[in-house]
Amino acid sequence: MSYSAQLLPTGGLHPVLQLTLNAPPSACPLYLHLDLPPSFIPDRFQLAQLHSEGRLGAPSTSAASLVVEGSRDLEGPSKGAEASGVLLRLREGGDAKGKGKEVLQETFELPLHLRYQPPVPRRWNEQGERVDSVRVELGWPTVFWACEEGEAPPAPPPCPLSALPSSFSLPLSSFTSLHFLSPSNLANTLTSSCPPTLPPPLALPVPTGVIADLPLVESVNVLAIWLGMMWIGWTAFKAWSKDCKGGKMKRE
């Protein structure tokens, strides 16, 4: 019983968090919780659409089926942005036996988006290495069963609701205990810590702008805009003048 997570390398500024789950069915629903630093944007509308279509987790009418908390800014740069969090129901509960022996492997892909990162001062450092790409980290998601009173609990030991490491208040009050899965590097270990120790954060390189480019960019922009304006303006003026002369000739 474990799970693994990785950021797929193919997304560019739109990374995908891939979660691979190895866990048996249970009477309790299975959840994913993810805290996102300000560098990331969870598009709540995109996630809601995927979730409602059954392409991301197990939709239900419950308020705790998909929750996206935190920043509502879908466009702004990383500077000044707020953190956010995602709570996603991966599986419905309902296995009456509770401790099914069959381990199900499933894969989930959670689309994310990156904000533009704060620009760096220079493109090259003193050693001649490029530094216009920064490393952005994303903490591992937490995966857990959330059980109500009387439901047959899964194998991992119970933890209180307060054990969930979240910066936001989540609608889990109807549950009485959380049973955390272990990340794959702690596989086959029914950890007693609440929550279990997570691996080092996931990371990916993200390109940034270079502040040293600004004088060139602004100067060229001003030159291009004003030269373009004069070129078009002069051509239009000549055409207009010719039209005025043509009108005069026509009258003559």
């Binding site: 560019g12 500024l13 216009d132 702008g209 502040i211 480019d213 805009i225 373009g228």
Partner: protein, 438 residues
């Protein structure tokens, strides 16, 4: 080809694309439908069924507190909805009837624009079949146009309003044109630039610059614009003003787009910026407006009296080219003026091909760099910006060539008269020369 046939084929094309959109959206991770359509639909849902989602809220305008409107929702509860509530109202049937209603509406708007353009081209003395050829090739059967509408972009609705103003103005129906003009500017702000050319056109027909006709047109269009604003503000209050108008005036799009401004906006989000001369002026949000608006409006005064369609073509091309943000959707804003202007554009085939090739290739250059940035996360911001500067330069060249290549019907008459005069003078000179020789 007859117009009815072109319309039928255009309708069929859009019908097939809408059906395809159902398939692609449900089976592929890459959606056919544009994100903006989802925004309209969500906003419309919040408008008509505010209780359907915890993210939706009720309208907050002064009129919304009246008992009859107590359940009216707020489309601005939807993040990134930055349009008039009119658009949410038009797409309300997405929630009440079927999610594809908006796409059907936008496709019908495409067809209506085609009909209006055909009548505009015919008024220029072009035969019906040739007019159909122009309109069909540039608009009705253009796969890019059909793709944009069936993906759920609402630009063709704006096209109906704008081309209607043009059609009414060319028929001399100035009151109706003024009402439609107010509606167009309410729907999207930029058609305000056509005000200068409309004033010039009125002046050419009525004589003078500040006549009762000018004042009447200004008052009616202003009243139309403010009536709509008043109604919308009455129901939706401050969010309406903020998202429909103020946001677009102050926006600084820092994410990459065709405009070369994006990179300076992005870098300006840092503190401790290096300064260049006149930094505070260059970096002011309004600095981009001066060349853009100044030139667009001046072009309207220069050419509006002669040919409104041509004036609006070059005004819009200029506006889009010099805009702080530029995306592919904006190209539609001038494309619908091409059919009525084509009969008067005298650009050689070779030069036309070179211009089109340059325009397409400069876009391809930008797209190649933007792909590396967005999809491969390569640090190529400077190259994307440079490609944007190249695209800007090519667009300026296209505008210059269109202005140079334009010949109004009057111009063509003058040129012919000059040729005849020169021919007569030459014949007279030859006759005198022969007489002397004899």
């Amino acid at each position: 080809m007859r117009l009815s046939v072109a319309l039928l084929l255009a309708a069929l094309l859009r019908f097939v694309l809408i059906l395809w959109s159902f398939h692609q959206d449900s089976t592929s991770s890459i959606k056919y439908t544009d994100v903006d359509y989802t925004v309209f639909s969500d906003a419309a849902r919040c408008l008509v069924r505010p209780s359907s989602s915890p993210d939706c809220t009720l309208a907050t305008g002064p009129l919304a507190s009246l008992p009859f409107f107590s359940k009216l929702g707020d489309p601005y509860a939807r993040d990134t909805y930055r349009y008039t509530p009119l658009l949410a109202i038009l797409t309300a049937p997405n929630t009440l009837l079927h999610p594809a209603f908006g796409k059907v509406l936008f496709s019908l708007a495409d067809l209506l624009v085609g009909v209006l353009l055909h009548s505009l081209v015919r008024r220029r003395g072009v035969s019906s079949s040739k007019a159909t050829l122009y309109v069909a090739s540039i608009w009705l059967l253009n796969p890019i146009i059909a793709n944009i509408s069936t993906r759920g972009s609402a630009e063709s609705v704006l096209g109906v309003f704008v081309v209607s103003v043009l059609a009414l103005a060319e028929r001399g129906r100035w009151n109706a044109a003024a009402v439609a003009f107010g509606l167009a500017v309410h729907f999207k702000i930029f058609p305000i630039i056509y005000g200068s050319s409309l004033l010039a056109a009125i002046g050419a027909r009525k004589g003078g610059w500040i006549t009762s006709a000018h004042i009447k047109f200004g008052l009616i269009s202003f009243a139309s614009f403010m009536a709509l604003n008043g109604i919308m503000y009455g129901f939706w209050g401050e969010p309406f003003l903020e998202h429909t108008f103020l946001y677009h005036i102050h926006r600084l799009d820092h994410r990459h787009n065709f405009s070369p401004y994006f990179y300076s906006f992005y870098l300006s989000t840092s503190s401790n910026l290096p300064s260049v001369p006149w930094s505070s002026f260059i970096r002011h949000p309004l600095a981009a407006f001066i060349p853009q608006l100044g030139l667009s409006i001046a072009l309207g005064f220069a050419f509006g009296a002669k040919d409104l369609a041509f004036a609006w073509l070059v005004q819009t091309l200029t506006f889009v080219t010099f805009n702080k943000v530029c995306t592919s959707q904006y190209f539609l804003w001038y494309l619908w003026f091409l059919p009525p202007v084509l009969p008067n554009l005298h650009i050689t085939g070779r030069r036309g091909i070179v211009l089109i090739a340059a325009w397409v290739l400069s876009q391809a250059l930008w797209l190649s760099q933007a792909f590396q940035l967005e999809m491969l996360a390569q640090p190529v911001y400077l190259r994307v910006w440079a490609a944007g500067v190249v695209f800007f330069g090519v667009n300026c060249w296209v505008i210059v060539e269109i202005v140079r290549g334009y010949r109004s019907a009057d111009d063509q008459g003058v040129v012919e008269a000059r040729v005849r005069e020169e021919g007569k003078a030459s014949a007279e000179g030859s006759r005198i020369g022969r007489a002397k020789a004899e």
